[in-house]
């Protein structure tokens, strides 16, 4: 067989097969995700009707599950850009088979994260006040506030990630358009935007794609740094720390890649993508999880060391409160999930075992959600003003419902995406398999 013919055909056939009519199991999952999202919407309606009193928010804990969810989902969104942009610039070959899933996850992750500042407002109908535009109130937003930086950082991240995803789909949509009939042909035709694969199109496309990657790369580091400044710019012990930006960025990449693997392992099985997403891809991705886990562990250690070095005072008191106070079980679960279980990835057998990898990644997801909860809630609940003193925060069913709804919302869009658009980049895989054939020869 020729160098193009056989591998390219196989890639296209494999991806095209994922685009068929969804089976019962897939439809069931979409339905379950939809029900969870609807439950979240119902909980939000209850909160709008009755006010924030239905949440567990009170003095001194004014930020809790909603902000935890916000930071968690922004973090989940991070690895998509890392895999698609940073690894593209570094010419890491293993990204080719997995980056589309990661990019889609990024877009849906930011879509989910964006809900939470609005949910947290209590009066979501005033959300538009966050955006700067001439208005009858003669009020402008305060650009010196980190919350305003967040609005710009997250909005920019969403738009750039969405552009990156859609532009990447264009050549693949053209391939699917030419291989489809009926409504799918028209649907893919919209995404293909008239693409013919001519040398002129590829010439401009390659250059533009490089620029998209170059623009997206600093976003990987800036967005979660900005999110960390929501906390670090305040003077609250437990938040006011210069280590927060790198600590948050590493944690975001850690949780994001863990979520990529959580999605990839079942996806490659259900959509029969084992030939394209191989144990080697999982292995390379696991190494990134291991590396970022070590950075996160180092950050935890540094936080503790800084508190000890500072001596008796607010920092040490908050560190001790986290490790021994009422939230200690959650703290130590977080340490186990984020620092201990990922160490199993040192063994190559574990890195190449989809089941073991999936288990570890789910634990990492749990651990990283808990990390954000610990940072936010313990710092606030350990107050220092006599009339606020200390307060134990407990989430209510409404908050649990909205959190569950966010997972439903995320998976609903993701499950629809993988059935409507290619979960693996066809054009880049065609190039990649040719590269492999060349090397084998």
């Amino acid at each position: 067989m020729s160098a193009v013919l056989a591998p390219a055909q196989r890639v296209q056939a494999t991806v095209l097969a994922t685009q068929g009519r969804p089976r019962g199991g897939h439809l069931l999952l979409i339905a379950l995700a939809g029900i969870a999202a609807a439950l979240g919407a119902w909980a939000e309606i209850v909160q709008i009707q009755q006010g924030l009193k239905v949440s567990g928010l009170n003095r001194p804990v004014g930020w809790a599950v909603y902000i935890t969810d916000f930071v968690f989902w922004v973090g989940i969104a991070h690895s998509g850009t890392l895999i698609s942009a940073v690894l593209f610039l570094l010419r890491a070959r293993f990204r080719t088979a997995i980056y589309r899933v990661a990019e889609a996850m990024t877009v849906f992750g930011v879509m989910t994260a964006g809900l939470f500042p609005v949910v947290h407002l209590g009066r979501p109908w005033f959300a538009y006040w966050l955006f700067p535009y001439p208005n009858q109130r003669h009020l402008w937003v305060n650009f010196r506030s980190p919350l305003m930086w967040d609005v710009f950082a997250v909005s920019t991240y969403f738009i750039v990630s969405a552009i990156f995803l859609v532009v990447g789909i264009v050549p693949d949509a053209a391939a699917l358009r030419d291989a489809s009939a009926g409504w799918r042909r028209r649907f893919y035709g919209v995404f293909a935007a008239g693409w013919r694969g001519t040398d002129e199109e590829w010439r401009h496309y390659a250059r533009a794609y490089l620029y998209f990657a170059a623009f997206a790369t600093p976003l990987v580091f800036s967005v979660h740094s900005v999110v960390s400044w929501d906390f670090a710019v305040s003077i609250l012990p437990g938040w006011h720390s210069t280590i927060f930006p790198p600590y948050f960025v590493a944690g975001a990449i850690f949780s994001g890649i863990a979520m990529v693997v959580t999605l990839l392992v079942p996806l490659r099985k259900v959509l029969h993508l084992e030939e394209l997403i191989t144990p080697w891809h999982l292995d390379m991705t696991s190494r990134m999880i291991l590396l970022t886990s070590l950075i996160v562990t180092y950050s935890y250690a540094i936080e503790a060391v800084m508190a000890l070095r500072a001596g008796p005072g607010p920092e040490l008191s908050i560190a001790a409160y986290r490790a021994t106070g009422p939230f200690a079980p959650l703290y130590w679960t977080m340490v186990a999930c984020n620092c201990v279980f990922p160490l199993f990835l040192i063994a190559s057998k574990v890195r190449r075992s989809p089941a073991a990898l999936l288990g570890i990644c789910i634990l990492v997801n749990v651990g990283m959600w808990l990390e954000r909860f610990i940072i936010i809630v313990t710092s606030l609940s350990h107050d220092r003003i006599p009339y606020d003193w200390w307060g134990i925060y407990r989430p209510t069913m409404v908050e649990a419902g909205i959190t569950l709804g966010s997972f439903g919302w995320f998976f609903f869009w993701f499950l629809i995406f993988v059935k409507l658009l290619p979960a693996v980049s066809i054009s880049e895989m065609k190039e990649e398999v040719l590269h492999e054939v060349g090397h084998a020869a």
Binding site: S2, A3, V4, L5, A8, Q9, Q12, P132, H138, L139, W140, N142, F143, R144, M148, W149, F152, A153, S155, T156, I159, V160, I163, F164, V167, P171, A174, A175, R177, D178, A179, A193, G194, W195, R196, G197, T198, D199, E200, E201, W202, R203, H204, Y205, A206, R207, A208, Y211, F212, F215, A216, P218, L219, S222, V226, I426, S427, K430, E431, L434
Partner: protein
């Protein structure tokens, strides 16, 4: 837009298509185009087209974003001069964040617009006859103008599995 009169060769191998393109160029054919399912580097190199010049437009967009970001923040601060904590009204360090975000945002949007415009124009000006196989597993090499008989012979000798004249 219909492609001009020329000869189209259909290839199943990248190396063969790239070889044919090189031979055609050596033979004096100035107008050679291709359509392929992926931007195979060997083929792109053989064609020897200059690098796209989207850079200047895209970077101008990014610069516009920086300027717009600072203008928005400074203009806002001056329009609503509220002194807080003894800090200056126009405080540049926090505005750098907004300027950075807008440079990325405007740069990416301009890049997208430039890509859509350039690729669309290129597709019309250097059209290749449409064939669904060119987005799947075949490469089309299209020669316009010059000695089309010689081009046909070169394409056949280069390993084209199908050669046809386009009126």
């Amino acid at each position: 837009m219909q492609p001009e009169r020329g000869v189209l060769g259909v290839f199943a191998e990248v190396a063969a298509a790239a070889g044919a393109v090189r031979t055609l160029r050596k033979g004096g054919h100035a107008e050679i185009r291709f359509a392929a399912p992926a931007p195979y580097p060997e083929l792109v190199e053989a064609l020897g087209r200059p690098r796209s010049r989207l850079d200047s437009v895209t970077l101008s967009g990014a610069a516009l974003g920086v300027a717009g970001g600072f203008a928005l923040c400074i203009g806002t601060a001056l329009a609503w001069p509220l002194m807080t904590g003894g800090k200056p009204i126009v405080s540049i360090p926090p505005f750098v964040i907004i300027a950075f975000e807008l440079s990325v945002l405007v740069g990416a949007c301009v890049n997208l617009a430039a890509l859509a415009f350039s690729a669309g124009r290129g597709r019309r000006r250097r059209a290749v006859p449409y064939d669904p196989r060119f987005s799947a597993d075949r490469i089309g090499v299209f020669v316009v103008g010059g000695d089309l008989g010689a081009a046909e012979r070169t394409l056949r000798a280069g390993g084209a599995e199908e050669v046809r004249h386009v009126a």
